[in-house]
Symmetry: C2
Subunit: 305 residues, 2 copies
């Protein structure tokens, strides 16, 4: 089968063989924002041409923003709690019969505090991580918009989104804090300073707009050098995310473990921060996305098993 993670800015694909084995992989900057003419059919045919030339009838399943209102065909959100069967059964078809693509729906959740939240793509990663030895528990997907999901009985029962990565990017790129940092985007990670930032966020995350100004005053008083400043800001924001997740119940009272899903360097940072909050984190295998899509395809009856 063909498995696609079709997001806002990028498109990643895998050719999967028996048992979900990855036979080939391919990536392009063809996220839905890059398909400016809205011709997703052409983008899909181009991206999968090589794989489909050899086997035209390959089943194909995609997750991510391709199923949003701005994507190819909208796959309405499925409300939590939801698991493998719920997601597999609510796929939506796109494209012509000879080049059809099934799209996994996203998830929505209305939290007890009244806030509604959404995800698209992460649900398939979590399904893949569950298969990867992760059972019930807490799943954290760091990134531009970090997701915290709780899984019980194999179903995602609730989740929350934190704008942490985007806060870092806009503050570094456009605020007074960015002016005390090296111009280059490729920053050197300073573990000690990062840990100091995490501690600040864990202890004082409830006062974040003030602690952010504290990054600047630390610089003014020589307590924080320019090269290390991004590490402190990163730690502060991640620490504040953890403190908020704990205060609002994303981290349950007795939680001592979590599974991290995502880019390895960022997951390693989150693992360090979670350890400071008393949570032991394991980082999921990098191929949770194709594995989740394989499981969803099997559950949807797309694969003869």
């Amino acid at each position: 089968m063909i498995a696609l993670d079709w997001g806002t800015t990028s498109l990643r694909g895998w050719l999967l063989g028996d048992g979900g084995t990855v036979l080939d992989r391919h990536a392009a900057a063809s996220g839905i924002m890059a398909v400016t003419d809205g011709n997703f059919d052409a983008a899909y045919r181009t991206f999968t041409a090589g794989w489909r030339a050899a086997q035209p009838a390959l089943p194909a399943l995609a997750s991510g923003m391709i199923g949003s209102r701005q994507g190819w065909v909208e796959a309405p959100y499925v409300a939590c709690p939801a698991g493998l069967a719920d997601l597999a059964g609510r796929g939506v078809m796109a494209g012509e019969a000879e080049a059809a693509l099934r799209i996994v729906p996203g998830l929505s959740w209305r939290a007890p505090d009244g806030m509604t939240d959404v995800m698209r793509g992460e649900e398939s990663q979590i399904i893949g991580a569950l298969d990867d030895g992760g059972g019930d528990g807490l799943f954290v997907l760091p990134g531009t918009h970090s997701k915290w999901a709780r899984v019980e009985g194999g179903r995602i029962v609730g989740f929350a989104t934190y704008m942490t990565g985007e806060l870092f990017a806009v503050l570094r790129g456009h605020s007074i804090l960015g002016r005390m940092m090296p111009a280059d985007g490729a920053m050197a990670h300073d573990s000690r300073t990062f840990a100091a930032g995490v501690a600040d966020g864990l202890d004082h995350g409830h006062d974040l707009p003030r602690r952010l100004f504290g990054v600047r005053t630390r610089g003014l008083f020589g307590d924080l050098g320019e090269p290390a400043a991004p590490s402190f800001l990163s730690g502060l924001l991640i620490g504040a995310e953890l403190a908020g997740a704990r205060a609002s119940g994303q981290i349950g009272a007795g939680a001592t473990a979590a599974t991290l899903i995502g880019e390895t360097t960022l997951c390693t940072r989150y693992a360090e921060a979670l350890a400071m909050a008393g949570i032991a984190a394991r980082i999921a295998d990098a191929d949770v996305t194709p594995r989740g899509l394989w499981r969803l395809a099997c559950a949807a009856g797309m694969i003869d098993t």
Copy 2:
């Protein structure tokens, strides 16, 4: 005398007569960042030429970033607690004898939680507001970097800075939240939506990176229209500032009143938000800056009274 508020982006000046009466006022975009050649002497002579032509020996006092390391002459921070006499006695001289300018120092404070904070310019406004009927108590100066100062026995005993205004600007200008808002900077204020944002911030400000993403999901689910979105974000950030100020002790347990200093529209918004937090706010007279500089000049012996 000549009184100047010489900040990062702007320069405001007043010609003051007997008793501190404002005889004339003048403003220019000659903030310290605009004096790119570092020739503050020339900028000062140009700005005050009209006033000094008539009376060459006028005493002159300035507050603000002109006394910072990036300014004309650095006026080292005075540590809190500090009042009129401390500030008046620690002025620093700049310029030639025939066109001399005295610069008021800024204030620094190391909070009990270890965080160091600074202000430059706001101390003179608070001194002016104290004269304006404001006694001891809580002073809030909203803006790009909001200041919260506590005054006891006429001295500023501690203060904290919140990056609220800058957070609003960078999120509106550069984040995904800005994309769900009208393009034009001149936003229409929506009181009800602003109040809903304040309530969200007061109740959930400890979980700010998540509540920020909630602004987006409210838009996705049609709970928040594009024209009202900036009002919600503004309310959320101000509410989170208030919640943080309360949690970290800037708002004392028994506090029921505060004095607001600053631009009238913004002060009105803060007064609405403070009322929701049980704090009755009075907005200080617009001319607290020249009044504070007059009082400081008198205390420094610059004026024959």
